[in-house]
Symmetry: C2
Subunit: 345 residues, 2 copies
Amino acid sequence: MSLSKAPGSAITIHDIAAEAGVSKSTVSLVLKKSPLIKPETAAKVWKAAEKLGYVYNRMAANLRQKSSNVVGVIVNDLTNPFFVELLIGIERVLLQSGYITLMAHTAESAQVQEKVIASFREQNAAGILMCPAFGTSVETIDRLREMHLPFVIMVRQLGDLNYDYVGAANVDGTRMATEHLLRLGHTRIGFIGRSQNSLVGLQRQSGYEEALKQAGISLNPAWVVDSPVSMQGGQDGAKILLDMENGPTAVVCYNDLVAMGVLNELDYRGLRAGKDMAVIGFDDIATAKHTNPPLTTLAINPEQQGEIASRMLLNQLRDHPATHNHYFSQPKLMVRESSGGMLTR
Amino acid sequence: MSLSKAPGSAITIHDIAAEAGVSKSTVSLVLKKSPLIKPETAAKVWKAAEKLGYVYNRMAANLRQKSSNVVGVIVNDLTNPFFVELLIGIERVLLQSGYITLMAHTAESAQVQEKVIASFREQNAAGILMCPAFGTSVETIDRLREMHLPFVIMVRQLGDLNYDYVGAANVDGTRMATEHLLRLGHTRIGFIGRSQNSLVGLQRQSGYEEALKQAGISLNPAWVVDSPVSMQGGQDGAKILLDMENGPTAVVCYNDLVAMGVLNELDYRGLRAGKDMAVIGFDDIATAKHTNPPLTTLAINPEQQGEIASRMLLNQLRDHPATHNHYFSQPKLMVRESSGGMLTR
DNA sequence: TAATATTTTTGGAACGTTCCAAATAATGAT
DNA sequence: ATCATTATTTGGAACGTTCCAAAAATATTA
């Protein structure tokens, strides 16, 4: 297979046109699978393109036709499997809609996030799906809107919900968790997680508080531990509660990672979650059913959330007007051994 | 802030030029921070750009100047935290080198991978970092080379190693693991993991076999279980070994996920890893030190691998000639409780 | 001050596509 | 065969940048 062009220069539609004996416009139409052109002509063009090893230059196309086919996904913390699962749902929908999914990871840095947004904008992305980094200001969202860049916010809501949003009913989740523990007879129930400055944290904490209040149990502030969202954070939080005398007999955790840290600390002390202390997580990440012991948690179906968010964005991309759709995944309690309420495997 | 342009049309360097009273070429130079232009002129231009709310159009720029500043990262399995950690290392280096990291996830589909490569090529990516999907053919690599697209392959090697590659010394790893178990007195040692069709699997299995041979212990084929690379796979594999009478007393696992499945099955049976059976994983993902019990495993530093791979790519991007650099991360045995050899926490 | 060297700025031609209005070819009706 | 329709194809002008060679402004020297 010998190339007649200089090695550096790329094959363009002009080359194909010459090879196939048609005009560049015809080639362009063929590549777009336009119904206008005659099948035989199309076949000729495709053969020529194949022969020359043509690569479509989307940069050039995008330059002319305003909007591109890439969707930017901005994720704040890939080390939390929850977000990976979210991503997978997103990717599935976008891929089969013909969009290219570009992912960027901010690692909770609002600064990196700014760069990434700018970059997506420069790349002329069709739209953005974003899980805001910690400390994202409301202005960031206002700015997105001013850019006329279609977007959907996920997981963390910022300011008024005057944009498309997909998240979970956090308050309901921890309320359900707490009620479950109450039903099992626990009255001394703690909470470990991030609440400072984090809306999701506050929501999850308030569901816990509501359930206690509803049951007529007064909140013991010492049993509410503010910890980083990580296994290590959960472990450190658990140490605090376990070192207390007359501490809680059950604990609701901010999420599964934190709960896994708690399980770890219990194990280290020779204690067993579900027997010596009830532990409930949040998210139901894939690992949750494989922890020792398996973790009772609230399923909020991240993959599905990703799919829904993508579809919201696709809607925006079709009929321009910005909408204000919201979806809150309703948590489902997955009872496993760690809460002590498991009956069958 | 009132815009004088029509809402649809974007601000271009021409608009800035008009506003600042210079030529578009000058604006272009200013935006590139060229030392040629006079500081005062530059200031004027920046102010005008700011005032008009200019957004750099990288598509247009890329069209003219061949190569872009995006690097594509192709990952085969984000559900395995190993790859997420790899990604984080990559991202760190590329970000601070001024490149934009676009990530794509193939979910082990060679078909999706083809699409993604084509897409990165269309996007005119500067280079590609790829963890090949399962079943990737050698031709895929040949084609990458023919495209003159700089690339680095990670984790899985395909065909001859005539390209930049970053991975781990897999054989050494499982040999070390097996030798560790032998030193602890085990003689009945099994292996759970993927070996069929997977080079990494074969490598890891052969390290295990070598160590046994070295110790004069004959291999029991029934103790080598081929299972999917997942917690579920590990759990199913463990069932097989545990249901045997006179089965192995120790098991080397393909990776940490598989090992976690084994830990899970042991726990379910009321057995304890490190006491009733020794378990060793591979990768040392972040979770490994937080499993119950904590997992003995081989650290191969995915973040560092990501950094090294990125630097190899950056090298290629600087001085054109394609190189054949290889880096094999030397595994480090992290002794924790699951192998029974832990002395201190 | 004129001539020269140096710094700074500039217009026009690319880059590879899509869009459009208009040209051409094919078909059908008379 | 002629004309009206309809189905295909086409050249040229965009899109917003960078590159280049050359112009203009400024500084330096004799």
